[in-house]
Symmetry: C2
Subunit: 587 residues, 2 copies
């Protein structure tokens, strides 16, 4: 090994071992030349699993899904130039969704930058405000203090990425030719088990006792309270929030991504059909509350957001362990940067007795049950429309499975048709920026660490990240992709744009006329077309075998779909009018 090769080899090896010691278990690599030293050493390290995806945009979303499902920081590596630019959509999503990504871009050395050299763009702070941290790395150097620097930087990158709110960090590595390290058997020779590691830990944010006491006193006084839960990652939260709700006698309006609608959290306090009944004008007007306690991201339901925004509660607390300003409604009175579980426990402890069950709580449970019954009647529809399809697929998911849902319509249908359930079904989505991009890859990344995994997406989302499917084949991952193909942008039929005849199909409907059986063939997957419950049963049985990629396609109709949904909501609304008739209901 000459000196240059030694510099290249040891510098990269210690960096990678530094990542591993800091808890990185997986790396997603896209092929390229400039990234060669890092790629070969990642493939060589015994304690890191390497995944390959050729399209860097998909690769980055794959890493995001993997990090999301595993809760562990995931590394990403690409070559120089526009390759690195392709990471931006996933980096932006990771920043908003708080996913720890270690983005490693290789770059030309300084003398080849901005002088017209090939495959070279300005990679300095390439992701702008969307990376939590950026560092331009030193050139490879095997001096002892430089190996220490690069190990420390690896640990620091993980430390920053994981700290609440978690997010992506970006390290840019200049590499000078020649690019080949001497990797074979290197990590054994380095005796990596004896190499030093830095212990990384982060304390939990806890509010001072006095403040909890003040809050407890307020909560004790208020009977008409609501707990609202969105997506969050605090450990033990489900149990803690249910305990708190029981003491307070408040209903929990639980977004599907809160984790509260399924599995152990299962509680009669959980309200799962609010999106349907909060569309009712009478309820919106009359169910006025005194206090709101919000955890996690804003729920997907627009009806809920509008309902909360309509009433100025005396107290409206937003609790977020990440200290983010997750408050698009503009009504918060308390912004509390505190761990969600710890907050619930501390508050519960200050509330000595459980409140007697109030009519307030009974009302919420009552109308929720009534609305739910109507929403569940979607199963009785003669036609396998989008609502029924969603409902029936959900019925057929096995215990301990994971479901990744697309944005736009699927996440809304999940909200409508996923009711509290004892099965432990992990619900995942990309709700950082709610893009229709990268969903296939995010689901596949999740499927790499949690199985079985089902993805439900619309046709435009599947198209947008069709390249993502290649990762199933390249990395031997099992996934079932259920595509609801309504030939275009279904959500626009719900928006005011739907009223515009002129230009509507050109700009919003955008029918792409895609038959995904060809996509299945292209990516070596199986394909099933679903037209009725019998074929759905067959398809889901095939999915249960979990053998590589399976695409299940159902053809639906955008126009009929809006009508069917609106009919259900209208039924719910009429039932609500009946139930809450008279002046006594909310008293």
């Amino acid at each position: 090994m000459n000196n240059k090769q030694k510099d290249l080899t040891l510098y990269n090896a210690h960096f990678i071992d530094g990542l591993v010691k800091a808890g990185v278990e997986s790396a997603v690599i896209s092929p390229g030349s400039r990234s060669t030293p890092m790629a070969l050493l990642l493939a060589e390290h015994p304690d890191i699993k390497v995944y390959v995806q050729i399209d860097e945009r998909s690769a980055a979303f794959f890493a995001l899904g993997l990090a999301k499902a595993s809760g562990k920081p995931t590394a990403l590596l690409c070559t120089s130039g526009t390759a690195a630019a392709n990471y931006l959509p996933a980096v932006a999503e990771a920043k908003n969704a708080r996913i720890p990504l270690i983005v490693l871009t290789s770059d030309r050395p300084h003398e080849l930058r901005e002088v017209g050299a090939p495959q070279s763009i300005d990679q300095n702070r390439l992701y702008g405000t969307h990376a939590k941290w950026f560092a331009e790395m030193a050139l490879p150097d095997a001096e002892e203090h430089m190996l220490r620097y690069v190990r420390i930087t690896a640990a620091k990158a993980v430390y920053i990425a994981k700290q609440s709110p978690a997010g992506p960090v970006h390290l840019n590595f200049p590499f000078r030719e020649p690019l080949l390290p001497q990797y074979d058997g290197l990590f054994e020779r380095l005796e990596i088990e004896d190499l030093p590691a830095i212990h990384l830990s982060e304390g939990m944010r806890m509010l001072p006792k006095q403040e909890i006491e003040v809050l407890a006193a307020i909560f004790k006084e208020k009977e008409k309270g609501l707990i609202v839960c969105g997506e969050q990652q605090s450990e033990g939260f489900e149990k803690a929030v249910v305990e708190l709700a029981e003491k307070l006698g408040y209903p929990i309006l639980a977004d599907p991504l809160s984790g509260l609608r399924s599995g152990e959290a299962h509680s009669h306090l959980i309200i799962d059909s609010y999106d349907a009944f909060l569309r009712n004008e009478k309820i919106k007007q009359e169910a006025s509350f005194d206090i709101v306690l919000r955890f996690g991201a804003m729920p997907v339901s627009k009806a809920l957001t509008q309902f909360i925004g309509r009433h100025d509660a005396i107290v409206h607390c937003v609790v977020d362990s990440g200290g983010g300003w997750r408050e698009p409604i503009g009504v918060a009175t308390h912004m509390l940067a505190a761990d969600e579980s710890a907050f619930c426990q501390a508050l519960s402890a200050r509330l000595n007795e459980q409140r007697d069950r109030s009519s307030w709580l009974e009302n919420w449970m009552h109308i929720n049950q009534a609305a739910k019954t109507i929403m569940q009647s979607v199963g009785e529809h003669a036609e396998l429309d989008e609502g029924k399809l969603f409902y029936e697929v959900l019925q057929r998911l096995p215990d301990h499975s994971a479901l990744f849902v697309g944005n736009s319509m699927p996440i809304r249908d999940l909200d409508s048709f996923f009711f509290t359930d004892e099965r432990r079904i992990r619900l995942l989505a990309n709700r950082g920026a709610n893009g229709i991009d990268g969903l296939v890859s995010s689901a596949l990344g999740a499927a790499a660490v949690t199985s079985p995994l089902y993805l439900i997406v619309g046709d435009l989302s599947l198209f947008h990240d069709l390249n993502g499917l290649l990762a199933a084949k390249l990395n031997g991952i099992n996934i079932t992709v259920i595509v609801i193909n309504n030939n275009g942008g279904g959500i626009f039929s719900y928006l005011p744009q739907a009223g515009e005849q002129k230009h509507f199909e050109l700009l919003f409907g955008t029918p792409a006329d895609l038959d995904f059986s060809h996509a299945a063939k292209l990516y070596g997957g199986d394909y099933e077309r679903v037209t009725d419950l019998a074929s759905l049963d067959n398809s889901m049985a095939k999915a249960a075998k979990g053998d590589g990629l399976l695409i299940i396609e159902a053809i639906t109709d955008r126009a009929k779909n809006v009508v069917a949904h609106r009919e259900l909501w209208e039924k719910v609304s009429q039932e609500m009018n009946k139930l809450t008739a008279g002046e006594g209901f909310w008293k």
Copy 2:
């Protein structure tokens, strides 16, 4: 029209009309909600052609290709969030390749930013240093001075984007709901033909006479000179540089993208096989020169770059109308920010007489002819290998056609096998950052304004931008995509990485096993498999009919391909040794 709708409508309408008056003829739109007012008004404006592509990454490359082929600034529009982030790869390419793009992103209004509202990321300076100019636009406002502001900003955006070096500009538009403008018939009512326009013009950069005289005196003294031409956009350059070369008696080493190898420029001074014979050690050592005059981007040939870098010429001029530092070799003595054509004309005018034909020039023409003859013998290969395929396809291109080539291997094969030709074939590629991304879309964008257009790409490039194919169907564009499918990253077989058995296929070869007949079916295209000259003839005849999308796939072998190329180069090298034997050749 209420006041809000009036603000939204007139503000966007005047902006769009401002773009049109400044010379924007096309806009590429991706569907979305936030961008509704701008999208509807773009579709409504009588003088702007709207193209639709659902995938924003592909949309941006489509706009880039369209702007590249038309020479006109092209607008791009998307919704908020990661949609906008998907533009970055094309924006980075446009910056490096000097393509004028008007990037319009719609955004949430200020009160919905960074508060956890959906589909919202920080779009401020989203493209960092990769946009020439960024502006955060005012909220829609129909006050007269605000309509003037928005018209002026449209003109300014085009003015900046087009100025040499051209590039992308980014305007971020906050839109508040409701988002529907009153568009139907609006532009007639506005009587846009009478609305004011700002005349935009840019002067040419000309060196002072005295400096030209000093340079002319130097050039007169030096017999052993080289003119090197890469991709450039100066009008009339081909003619001007050939005239100058004739006066100086210098060979012109012309990159295929210089435009000099085909059509009218056709001259015996043009050297087209330097990439083959400059691999010969003897020539590299002995053909030493005194002076180099370079125009445009650095040519693709690494052999040429290394050859130039080896000799310190007394004078090494880099002429660039954009004033860029296009000098990765580190040997320039003169950096001249001047229009290429004007420079050639001015210098020619100062060189009174034409130099007698020197042995220097004769030698270059002689070895070029010898090398070319050997390279052309690829046509005699029994097997339809990559070299032969490339050569045979090129033979079959019709006059006045355009050829877009992929990066990695295709651009290098173009360099090897596209010889000076009287046919006017327009050669296009994305050489700003040389990415393998966005090539299908760039070619389709070009095909929207120049026809017939052929794209030659490798399988990984076609895979990377497979989504791009949708634009052919959505916008009714004809294109022939010729995919050389060697099942993976063919270029790595030429690099030192090829020596690494371990991890090679995983990290570099990356065989994806794609059969693109399925892609053709998915996107409603025709498909032909080429295995010999007869099937190539048939396929090219089908292509000549120009009916939508046609994919022509040829299966090749990565390993054999390297061997075949190296055999050709070795033959050339041996011939060069023979030709230049003895000490007298370069005297």
